[in-house]
């Protein structure tokens, strides 16, 4: 826990007792819960007694004194959802995750909660996972919600976000497809090519969803290091036309529809990427990158 971070939050509110709830909300936002140390620090800084702060922190359901998981699944138990069998949904979640409501899975992935009403009674039984509403949930769809919650993270479901779309990618040099139809990432065929770094050569599979950044590597490579991308068919290195808008490293160009290019930053861990819709002449370097 970073003391300075908490001090900054408290200072932002002029160490004022009146903004106690706002301060608590911000601390919770930063750490997913209210650490004991933070509350003690807050008491010291604002002059509010720890007892009062603890009283507020335990009074409101928003605040949690226990660390929460990466994802939060809330099952509605309001009247409308209840009569449509929300209790069965809770039981199914309990069985699937082997935790009770209010608890977090041991791998710190999912926190299961029950809420009294989400205000979407017509959609009941309703489940909200990381802000995404799942209407008319049945026992059989519980498993899918859990998978999607684990995979999708806090971002919006891939199909619903117009900024994320699948691409068909090929090697700009030999023209062969780089799509691996047998290996699915995020529900779409993955893009597979080779990566080399310091003489080490591994395969890399990434999601073909533009803007999704899901990457799988054969072996772990040191982060923030530059690597080189090779075609698995002709073994040539992918050409580079532009530099990464995020970190300034050179980017590898993959062909989309044999004319446009999807350029990916070659620095490990960097998510810089460009979709270049200008027609590319392989022999003429073009720097006109069109950032998304």
């Amino acid at each position: 826990m970073d003391t300075k971070n908490i001090l900054d939050i408290i200072k932002k509110h002029n160490k004022n007792k009146v903004s106690l709830i706002s301060i608590l909300e911000e601390i919770q936002g930063a750490y997913t819960y209210l650490p004991e140390k933070a509350l003690r620090l807050l008491a010291k800084e604002t002059g509010c007694s720890l007892t009062d702060i603890y009283g507020v922190a335990t009074f409101y359901k928003t605040f949690s004194l226990k660390p929460k998981g990466k994802h939060c699944v809330s099952v509605c138990l309001g009247t409308a959802c209840h009569v449509r069998g929300a209790q069965n949904i809770v039981e199914e979640f309990k069985r699937e995750l082997s935790i009770s409501p209010g608890e977090t899975t041991p791998d710190n992935e999912i926190t299961l909660e029950t809420v009294n009403c989400l205000g979407a009674c017509a959609l009941g039984p309703t489940v909200v996972s990381d802000g995404q509403y799942f209407p008319h949930v049945s026992k059989s769809s519980v498993k899918e919600i859990i998978t999607r919650t684990k995979g999708g993270g806090r971002s919006i479901a891939a199909e619903a976000d117009i900024r994320i779309f699948p691409l068909q990618v090929s090697c700009p040099l030999c023209g062969k497809s780089l799509m691996d139809h047998d290996y699915i990432i995020n529900g779409h065929p993955s893009v597979k090519f080779n990566v080399s770094m310091n003489g080490k050569k591994v395969w890399l599979r990434m999601s073909c969803l533009y803007g999704k950044h899901t990457v799988e590597l054969e072996n772990q490579l040191p982060p923030n290091e530059l690597s080189r991308f090779h075609c698995p068919h002709c073994h040539n290195e992918f050409p580079s036309f532009s530099t990464c808008p995020e970190c300034g490293a050179s980017m590898a160009a993959l062909f989309v529809r044999e004319k446009c290019s999807w350029e990916v930053c070659m620095r490990q861990g960097c998510q810089g990427h460009i979709l270049n819709l200008d027609q590319i002449n392989l022999h003429k370097k073009s720097d006109k990158g069109k950032n998304k």
Binding site: S49, T51, Y54, F59
Partner: protein, 225 residues
Amino acid sequence: MINLTINGLPVSVEKGTTILDAAKFYGFPIPTLCHKEGLSPYGACRLCVVEIGEGSAAKLVSSCTYPVEDGLKVRTASERVLKARRIIIELLLASCPQSKTIQDIASRHNVRQQRFRQEYEDCILCGLCVRMCKEQMMAGAIGFRGRGQNRSIGTPFDIKSEVCRLCGGCIEVCPACQTRCTYTEPGKAICGGCANLAPPCIEKEQFHDMMCYMSPCVACEIKKA
């Protein structure tokens, strides 16, 4: 000065006085439980209800928190007040029947039995100890936690508070003895009095039956003998 009538008697009291203080001053008894001189009024137990207003506008208010108004008509012992008070006593008895203070109040109001499901809580959440700790002892070691069904009184994080000076004020004012000995869990103990005496009863189960024993904890020894 503010003029009002209490049970038909025209009286005048200083501005800012509560109905309870005014009634006491003129000799009208109002039972209280969570009210204590020197502590701020809290209005938790509702035992001090009185009826104000007339006709359909009449309503029950807690006299300990209601400041007097000009022309106010107060009834401290009307039919409606007595009925409400008896129900409140029955509810208190239902939650905390072992409390001597509550038993006394019940007997004074001729409440011989109660109609609710019997519970054996050790706290009625009157907040006397919290106010005692904060206002008289200037410590603020204990406070309310949670809400609704889970509301309880205790120290933050359920560990011994750094600001607690073991004064015992909370136990002194408690009508239900909420802060009973927790020496079996020393980390949570508030008074720690028995810990100093090192009694031979640490592992004994009898602790659960006991109410409060601030000064020398020899209750178990006496019981044995």
